[in-house]
Amino acid sequence: MTSPVPLRAAVSHPAAVPVALLAVVAAVATSVVVRGAAVTDVHVTAAWLALGAAAGYAVSGSP
């Protein structure tokens, strides 16, 4: 049985959110650029989500 501690450490690492956001934009870029898929609302919404979340995360100063 796997200990929950490594998972907790991974998701609470300060780089966890940036890495997840990189994965989102990489998935969108792979779909559109590499596979040549048409840009859909899902792609664009994912891009907007990533932009907003990156901007929010970049602003430190949580209480």
């Binding site: 890495v19 969108v28 995360y57």
Partner: protein
């Protein structure tokens, strides 16, 4: 300092506050966009992205519009309305200093490039991003260790966030063309 479910009310408030800013961007953008040809809006966003990235990288120094107020070092949260209200204030991005120029790029992009409701998405995501930082810090054991880990990896983290933002802006620009 958090008590009970205050962290969740604060986080919900941040998402609501971000969505409110997104709503303002949506309304202002609806007035601005018809006045500006598409190539102009694309050029403005592109130039702003370069300047703001250079600003965050320490290559350019200029003052960004922001509310130059500090929040107290220690805030004790309890109940619902207090954390929710403070979360809304913080989520708007207008309550205190911005330690990065990324929110300015996000706001400008939300003003000039979205197709309607997407300005709300980027605003709510801004609040969620802010909440994510607070929540991951609270989950971290010990929470104080989060700060030292962040401090040692701040540069690559900020660089990764800029890569995400620039890629997202590029995709949004291409999608609307």
């Amino acid at each position: 300092m958090w008590r009970g479910g205050a962290r969740w009310w604060f986080s919900a408030g941040e998402v609501i506050g971000g969505a409110l800013t997104g709503l303002v961007a949506l309304l202002l953008g609806a007035v601005l966009r018809p006045l500006l040809p598409r190539p102009v809006t694309l050029a403005v966003v592109a130039v702003a992205a370069v300047l703001l990235a250079a600003h965050d990288a320490g290559r350019l120094s200029f003052r960004l519009p922001q509310n130059a107020r500090q929040v107290p070092q220690l805030v004790v949260f309890d109940g619902r309305s207090g954390p929710l209200q403070f979360g809304v204030e913080m989520g708007t991005g207008l309550r205190t200093y911005m330690t990065s120029a990324l929110p300015h790029l996000a706001l400008l992009t939300a003003l000039l490039l979205p197709l309607g409701w997407q300005a709300l998405v980027v605003g709510a995501a801004f609040g969620a991003g802010r909440a994510a930082m607070a929540l991951t810090r609270l989950v971290h054991q010990p929470p104080e260790g989060w700060d030292s880990t962040y401090a040692t990896r701040e540069q690559p983290i900020r660089a990764a966030l800029w890569v995400v933002a620039l890629a997202a802006v590029l995709l949004v620009a291409v999608a609307g063309s």
